[in-house]
């Protein structure tokens, strides 16, 4: 048997697609590949146009051939001669089954009916397909085989409820709530006699007229930080009270960012310190870009500077590291992905464990552009402060060994999504014998129960099919129960601290669950059965070690 594989996203485009909805198809293709290789010959094509010529070639050679399309059905070619089957990742309770535009491909039920069968990643998706196409429609539920891949991590980093201390590294940047100087009061300006304040500041801060140019920015003393802080508080207050064409929130965020940059950034990660030390000590030579302080004195000046918000972000080009310990929760997600519900992930953690100094939430972000979430994140953490627990955000790219350390550092993995088509990171951490906090809805219903973790309850809510331009409510997603998420944090923390044997039982159960659910042999067997083949009869025998690259 010959398998032709195609995904919209491929090796060369994956870096641009990181975090986009369709990017997970690429990982699914990569994860399926070894199984397919064990059942036949695999040919990955870079364009759908290559499929039929290849098909005819095999036909002439008298060989069987099947095209597996790793794309949503609406993006799957409809004019191919080669027999095909779609691999569908889907997280809603119904599949698009209406023709709402002039493009009949938007109606998945027609495309799938034509193929006569489909491969899905979860029972939840299978159920959605069968709701549209009938209870007897042939659907294979095929999770991505990945359990074997984590044998080494399991061995190297045995599960521990309390992490004695490990160093995480990343090429990018690390945002640590402990060093940000967070304060909710910093989000607004106090109502003071503004003139008086200004006068006082000027009297205190105005340097004696000094002849020598170029004027260096004053050192960041505590008083100086206070001055900068007051300045941006005033700007923020103006943003709220002055009529401009810009939304107050935008101006507020801008001022928060500027304040952060000028008043406290040097208290933040190591990567930035090098840059900022030149402002503390007398510089031996004129600075290429002196920071004028105060930067903006009017909203319009502030706005001009806001044209280049990226310039204010932390550097992301350095190799940086951080030490974490205690009860460590990890989650991996893209903040732009509306399904992830990451606000709850953070707010429930900070509220449930606000007095627990040894609780840390590590968020590994799979989004290339820091500017898309940075201000949002800092604002959220400020609104939550003060809290004794710790939030660490890792932005950047992790090498395999660095990712292994992250798996190893985790006491628990956390997911609070509204819906999931599969959730590879959750499965990966479970394969590393990490218990979890997660809902048992959508795809997670196949592998999450109270033996492997703490369940986040949820109710439904109406939503649209993501591609539907009419934006009509046609399907359901889940509304995670914040109270239950908060309780899960508190309960898991208590277990880690006081019932290590229960923790270990849960960790083993998570590992066993993944062994049964997504190890190579059962996945291979199900696929072979679905395709009417006998494993091993045609090509290679079972492979113990599957893919190599973690996502």
């Amino acid at each position: 048997m010959n398998f032709i594989l195609y995904s919209d996203v491929n090796d060369s485009s994956i870096s641009q697609s990181l975090g986009r909805p369709e990017y997970s198809y690429y990982f699914v293709l990569k994860a399926y590949r070894p199984v397919l290789e064990s059942l036949g010959r695999v040919h990955v094509v870079s364009s759908a146009a290559e499929v039929d010529p290849l098909y005819r070639q095999f036909q002439q050679a008298g060989q069987e051939c099947l095209f597996l399309s790793f794309s949503p059905p609406n993006k799957t070619p409809t004019d191919l001669q080669c027999p095909m089957v779609c691999v569908v990742a889907w997280e809603y309770d119904s599949i698009p089954s209406e023709d709402w535009s002039d493009d009949p491909r938007q109606d998945w039920s027609q495309t799938l009916a034509r193929h006569g069968r489909v491969i899905t990643l979860s029972s939840h998706t299978a159920h959605a397909v069968r709701r549209a196409l009938g209870e007897n429609f042939p659907v294979l539920v095929l999770p991505t085989p990945l359990w074997e891949r984590f044998a080494q991590v399991r061995q190297q980093y045995p599960s521990a409820p309390i992490n004695p201390g490990s160093t995480l590294q990343i090429k990018g940047c690390i945002i640590d709530s402990r060093t940000l100087g967070l304060s909710a009061d910093g989000l607004i300006a106090p109502i003071l006699n503004e003139q008086e304040l200004e006068l006082r500041d000027l009297i205190v801060e105005e340097p004696e007229p000094e002849p020598e140019p170029p004027p260096l920015p004053p050192p960041l003393t505590l008083r100086r930080r206070g001055f900068i802080t007051k300045h941006y508080l005033r700007e923020g207050y103006r943003a709220l009270t002055t009529d401009t064409e810009h939304r107050p929130l935008f101006l507020l965020k801008h001022n928060l960012l500027m304040w952060y940059r000028e008043a406290v950034r040097d208290l933040v990660p190591q990567a930035l310190r090098a840059q900022l030390t030149r402002f503390r000590s007398p510089a031996p030579e004129p600075l290429p870009e002196p920071l004028p302080l105060p930067l903006a004195t009017t909203v319009s000046e502030a706005l001009e500077q806001a044209e280049h918000p990226q310039a204010c972000l932390p550097d992301t080009t350095e190799q940086v590291d951080i030490e974490v310990s205690g009860v460590v929760y990890v989650s991996v997600f893209n903040p732009d992905d509306g399904r992830k519900n990451w606000h709850h992930l953070i707010t429930a953690f900070c509220w449930a464990l606000r007095d627990a100094e040894d609780a840390t939430l590590v968020l590994k972000i799979t989004q290339n552009d820091l500017s898309t979430y940075y201000v949002h994140l800092i604002t959220l953490l400020s609104q939550l402060s003060p809290f004794a627990c710790r939030v660490v955000v890792m932005h950047g790219y992790l090498q395999d060994e660095e990712f292994a350390r992250l798996y190893g550092a985790a006491s628990f993995y956390v997911n609070a999504s509204r819906c999931e088509g599969l959730c590879l990171p959750l499965m990966e951490f479970m394969s590393c014998a990490r218990p979890v906090i997660a809902p048992n809805h959508t795809a997670m219903g196949d592998y999450i129960d109270e033996r492997v973790g703490f369940i986040v309850k949820s109710s439904h809510e109406p939503t649209i099919w993501p591609e539907d331009a009419r934006i009509l409510y046609r399907t359901l997603r889940h509304r995670p129960d914040w109270g239950s998420l908060k309780a899960a944090y508190a309960d898991s923390y208590a277990m880690a601290k006081h019932r290590p044997e229960d923790y270990q039982a849960m960790a083993s159960a998570a590992n066993e669950r993944m062994r049964d659910y997504c190890s190579f042999a059962p996945v291979q067997q199900r696929l072979a059965q679905f395709l009417g083949m006998t494993p091993g009869s045609e090509t290679t025998a079972l492979k113990a070690e599957a893919g190599t690259a973690p996502c």
């Binding site: 607004i188 109502i191 003071l192 707010t347 809510e461 009419r470 934006i471 409510y473």
Partner: protein, 434 residues
């Protein structure tokens, strides 16, 4: 005893303030007034700074007792008067503000509650939230606005049939009926067709006929707690194929256009449905308001929390069973014998007037499935179990009588004032003994 009362919104500015955060304090004051008049002489002042202490010293010179009831949240309650001051306030969050901002120390309610020494709120829930920080002995009393008598009297006149026979009511204002509205004009910009409704025109005389199983809710659509989005989507989802289910939303706000556009957009998004949604904005004369109550099978609430919720109390006092959550103030009068309970769960939020939006308290997020179930179950009861409906209706009247009749309010106020006098005496004995 002289009872001085004040709310920032009053007779002269209620029209402009309709729907603003503090507007409902005026309605509460109005409801309290007749009961207060049974306990003393009542004077409503519009300028407390000018009048409260003058009146107080006047009383003092005559040897008459005097108290100032400020119908306002604690951070807007004056604490610099010689006259004993008691805030009467509504609150629906799990914690009271214990931090101050913008240079206003009263934002930390502990300061005000300490200075006043006593307070009145409307629910057991808020009494507990206050005692959590002020101590279990802090003299605060849950006294809701006494709306029961008026509405129970009305309710007795009305037929309380679960399935409404056609009722015609007239109103002056704006009426939007999903059955006759072209919702294509409220879709995404690039797909819009048809003409949107002119929302800025002068009020018109409209007439509305209601029949079947009718759900009613009265609220200010800009009040973010009301969660009308779930109320609407759960209704449309549950009654997609049920033509005789109607949801009437009576909206109160002085400037309704933005809210209506938003609601029309949601009516568009929830398509298609055979049930009917009616949006009413405008004044209903008493007789027509009564007809709306009469034409209602159930009153609906899907809020994230309520300080007391006057419309819900009014409809239930009339004998209308509810769909409502069992949280905050509603836990004092809603139960499974007078309502279909909508489940809810904690969610972290900010105190509503905190400009920092600092996360410090909880609100109560609606369980959407449970709202759908409540619609379904209540519809089935209306259609098939008139006896149970009648029991729920009677129990609603009884529960609300216990909660907010004038008699029970009078008793609670009396006890509260006596308690105050005893405390004052004890303090003066202490002072003279020292």
């Amino acid at each position: 005893m002289l009872i001085i009362i004040h709310s920032e919104t009053n007779k002269s500015n209620i029209q402009q303030n309709l729907g603003r955060p503090e507007y409902s304090y005026y309605f509460v004051l109005k409801e309290f007034r007749p009961v207060l008049e049974r306990l003393g002489q009542v004077i409503e002042v519009s300028d407390p700074d000018e009048l409260v202490d003058r009146l107080y010293f006047d009383c003092l010179s005559r040897g008459e007792d005097c108290i100032f009831l400020s119908f306002s949240p604690p951070h807007r309650t004056p604490i610099h008067y010689a006259c004993p001051t008691v805030p009467v306030f509504a609150w629906e969050f799990s914690t009271i503000p214990t931090e101050s901002w913008q240079g206003e120390p009263r934002h930390d309610w502990r300061l005000v509650l300490d200075a006043c020494g006593m307070a009145i709120t409307h629910s057991t829930f808020t009494v507990n939230a206050v005692r959590d920080v002020m101590g279990a002995e802090y003299p605060i009393c849950a006294i809701p606005a006494p709306v029961w008598d008026r509405f129970a009297a009305r309710g007795q006149q009305l037929s309380n049939r679960p399935v409404v026979d056609p009722v015609q009511l007239n109103l002056r204002g704006l009426l939007i009926d999903s059955r006759t509205t072209d919702l294509r004009a409220y879709g995404p910009a690039e797909l819009r067709e048809g003409t949107p409704i002119a929302l800025d025109g002068p009020p018109q005389d409209c007439s509305l006929q209601l029949a079947g199983v009718v759900y009613t809710s009265v609220f200010n659509p800009y009040d973010g707690r009301k969660n009308w989005q779930d109320m609407l989507s759960a209704f449309c989802t549950t009654f997609r194929d049920t033509p005789d289910a109607t949801l009437v939303l009576k909206l109160t706000h002085h400037d309704i256009a933005n809210a209506l556009n938003d609601m029309l957009h949601h009516l568009y998004k929830n398509q298609s449905y055979q049930c009917r949604i009616v949006l009413i904005h405008g004044y209903l004369a008493d007789a027509d308001y009564e007809r709306l109550v009469e034409a209602t099978s159930y009153v609906v609430n899907s809020s994230y929390g309520e300080g007391q919720c006057l419309p819900l109390m009014e409809f239930m006092s009339c004998g209308k069973p509810a769909l409502a959550p069992l949280n905050t103030a509603m836990a004092d009068y809603v139960d499974s014998d007078n309502a279909f309970i909508v489940a809810s769960t904690d969610e972290l939020t900010a105190w509503p007037h905190d400009p920092r939006a600092a996360y410090r308290t909880l609100r109560y997020m609606t369980d959407w499935d449970s709202l759908c179930s409540a619609y379904r179950a209540s519809y089935d009861v209306a259609k098939t179990d008139a006896q149970r409906y009648a029991r729920m209706s009677a129990h609603a009247v009884e529960s609300l009588e216990r909660f907010c009749s004038q008699a029970s309010t009078e008793q609670r106020l009396l006890r509260f004032f006596e308690q105050r006098l005893q405390r004052a005496k004890a303090l003066s004995v202490e002072a003279s003994g020292a």
